[in-house]
């Protein structure tokens, strides 16, 4: 892989295969550190909050939430779009950077993909919780029933169900394919019988022969090439969920690409955040350098400019076309009761990331962490503005309603964050969080380039 720019190497030159296998493999096989138990225990409470909320909701119904006859989507669909956005980014990042032969991808792709899986799983929970009768969610699937009817295949909601299900399946296959050679490393470094047994089964008998590697690389490359358009299609469908309806401001020509860029934007912010935390918690400084952080920060900056363009178009087109309802929707966003969320979105998504024009800011951990947190917050606010502010003023003035979140709205939201962390603690404990075989290859290529 040719490195395009000069500068410090992606991997310290004294890294050998032996050291990489030992340091990265032992993260999964060593005895459990005490700090892990604290984090795992704390996030379990968050996961319990989510499942408690779901239970209460299934017993009492969606009346627990602050939604009403006009604002039928509240925090639940905001959370859904936010999580699926983050969930789309990991595969996009990993596959896109793999196809673009970006060597720095190797250090971050495994946990970016894990983030994708967990976020997509959580995202899938929200539409189900949102249904009045969640135990009937299987009606979305085409199965031969005594009713003799089938799902409406012209509806984006049905596309959504398939798109997300297929996305979760394909991301899992992509993730697991990349993990097989690393499970083999853990199998061969196992300290104890049950580790050897579990990782041995997970490695499926991988021997690392030249023929294995040849087929592995081809399957992995083609999967990556398919994953990129898949991600674009999945989040476009989420955009269609909105834009095929007739609310003012939900524009069908803009929403699909706008949602896809937003997914990449919030996903990269979340990856930066997770990278900073894992790097500090597990001392991964040798594998994730300042140069990695800088590369990710540049992509966040570029995506932020695209977001600014999309927001500007949301204002420009109603003015240019003179459509009074669209114009009223813009005014309602900017000056109505949800104006703080609207301006917060501009500030967090377009304003704050501009500090990343400065090299010092891109390499400053505190600045990067704040930018990443604010982008995640800003992207949540963006979805909140689209969903809640959009629905609160439709075409009929007699149907204008405001939305006020209740305790259960907040508990589902905070609980989903807890559940995400809980899954991530399990991942970081038992799965090699950095792809060891890809870093070995990177070390080999750096060495052959140098000689």
């Amino acid at each position: 892989m040719p490195s395009l720019d000069r500068g410090e190497p992606w991997l310290a030159p004294d890294q050998t295969d032996t050291r990489l296998s030992q340091e990265l493999g032992d993260l999964a096989t060593r005895p459990t550190p005490r700090g892990w138990w604290w984090g795992f225990g704390g996030s379990s409470l968050g996961a319990l909050l989510l499942f408690g909320t779901a239970l209460a909701l299934f017993v009492a119904g969606v009346g627990l939430w602050g939604i009403n006859t006009s604002v039928v989507w509240g925090f639940d669909i905001t959370n859904y779009v936010w999580w699926i956005g983050i969930g789309n980014a990991g595969t996009l990042i990993s596959a896109m950077l793999y196809l673009a032969r970006q060597p720095w991808r190797a250090s971050i792709n495994r946990f970016a993909e894990a983030m994708t899986l967990f976020a997509a799983l959580i995202a899938g929970l929200f539409p189900i919780m949102h249904m009045g009768r969640p135990y009937l969610f299987y009606w979305l699937a085409p199965y031969p029933s005594v009713m003799g009817v089938w799902p409406q295949f012209r509806s984006p909601l049905v596309w959504d169900m398939f798109a997300i299900l297929i996305y979760i399946l394909v991301s899992s296959l992509f993730w697991y394919t990349g993990l097989i050679p690393d499970f083999a490393t853990l199998r061969d470094r196992a300290q104890g019988r049950w580790q050897a047994w579990v990782y041995g089964v997970l490695a499926l008998g991988w021997r690392g022969s030249a023929r294995h590697w040849q087929r592995y690389e081809q399957a992995y490359t083609v999967m990556a090439a398919l994953a990129v358009p898949l991600v674009v299609s999945v989040h476009s469908v989420v955009g269609y969920d909105f834009s095929t309806s007739v609310m003012p401001g939900w524009r069908s020509t803009l929403f699909a690409p706008f949602f896809v860029v937003g997914a990449m934007f919030s996903g990269f912010a979340m990856v930066i955040l997770i990278t900073l935390i894992l790097r500090a918690a597990f001392g991964l400084y040798a594998f994730i350098t300042a140069r990695h952080l800088e590369a990710m920060a540049k992509i966040v900056l570029a995506a932020s400019l695209l977001m600014g363009y999309a927001y500007a178009m949301e204002v420009f087109i109603p003015w240019y076309t003179g459509n009074p309802d669209d114009g009223r929707a813009v005014a309602h966003n900017a000056t109505g009761p949800y104006a703080p969320a609207y301006w917060g979105m501009w500030l967090c998504n377009v304003g704050v990331p501009q500090v990343l024009w400065w090299r010092e800011a891109r390499r400053n951990i505190a600045v990067l962490a704040w930018v990443a947190v604010l982008v995640c917050v800003g992207m949540w606010l963006e979805r909140y503005v689209i969903v809640v502010s959009g629905l609160s003023q439709g075409f009929l003035p007699s149907q204008f309603r405001l939305y006020f979140p209740t305790f259960w709205d907040w508990s589902a939201w905070l609980g989903s964050l807890g559940f995400f962390l809980w899954l991530f603690f399990l991942f970081a404990r038992f799965v090699p969080m950095v792809p060891i075989h890809e870093l070995r290859r990177l070390a080999h290529e750096q060495k052959s380039e140098a000689s």
Binding site: I166, G205, A210, W213, V222, M223, E445
Partner: protein, 174 residues
């Protein structure tokens, strides 16, 4: 019973040189083991092209056809549903799920095909009996060959490549 010989190296470059030397010496039943996909190893061993991309193409196309046909049958034949006065066979909205099914078909074919062609899952294999082979997934590189009639000559040839060790694989490479 066929036996195979296996030489162990510390470096990917040595493995590549050894693979070229073995081909030049006339050995045809060769296999190499490495802890990562060593660039150039395919050419050194002259591995034939794999069937994985063809699998993925075929099953991707099958997925698209099945996904499209499913929607056409359910929405236009079995239960025609008039949505906004459009024709029953309003095909453009069916294209999206056809694409999703194409990706699913190709990804499943890639995963299953890669494993099946590799003969996996197979938890035990004769090469695992070689001392030190556990390091093939960590930091060592192995070249294995089936010596044909003259095992001693093959052993001398491998020792001439200056490996760390030469071992015997009891049951051959298959």
């Amino acid at each position: 019973m066929r036996v195979a010989l296996m030489a162990e190296f510390a470096d990917a470059g040595q493995l590549l040189d050894a693979a070229y030397a073995a081909r030049a010496a006339g050995y045809r039943r060769l296999e190499a083991y490495a802890p990562f996909a060593v660039p150039g190893l395919d050419e050194a061993l002259r591995l034939p092209a794999t069937l994985v991309p063809a699998f993925m193409l075929v099953f991707g196309i099958l997925g698209a056809i099945l996904g499209f046909a499913l929607q056409v049958y359910l929405a236009a034949v079995d239960y025609p549903l008039n949505a906004g006065g459009r024709p029953d066979l309003s095909w453009p909205p069916f294209g999206l799920l056809a694409f999703e099914f194409a990706v699913l078909g190709a990804a499943l074919a890639g995963f299953v095909g890669m494993l099946a062609l590799n003969g996996l899952p197979r938890l035990h294999h004769p090469v695992f009996g070689v001392a030190d082979f556990g390091r093939a997934s960590q930091d060592r590189f192995f070249l294995a060959l089936e010596p044909g009639d003259d095992t001693e000559a093959a052993r001398r040839f491998l020792l001439g490549l200056e490996p760390l060790a030469v071992s015997e694989v009891a049951d051959g490479l298959d």
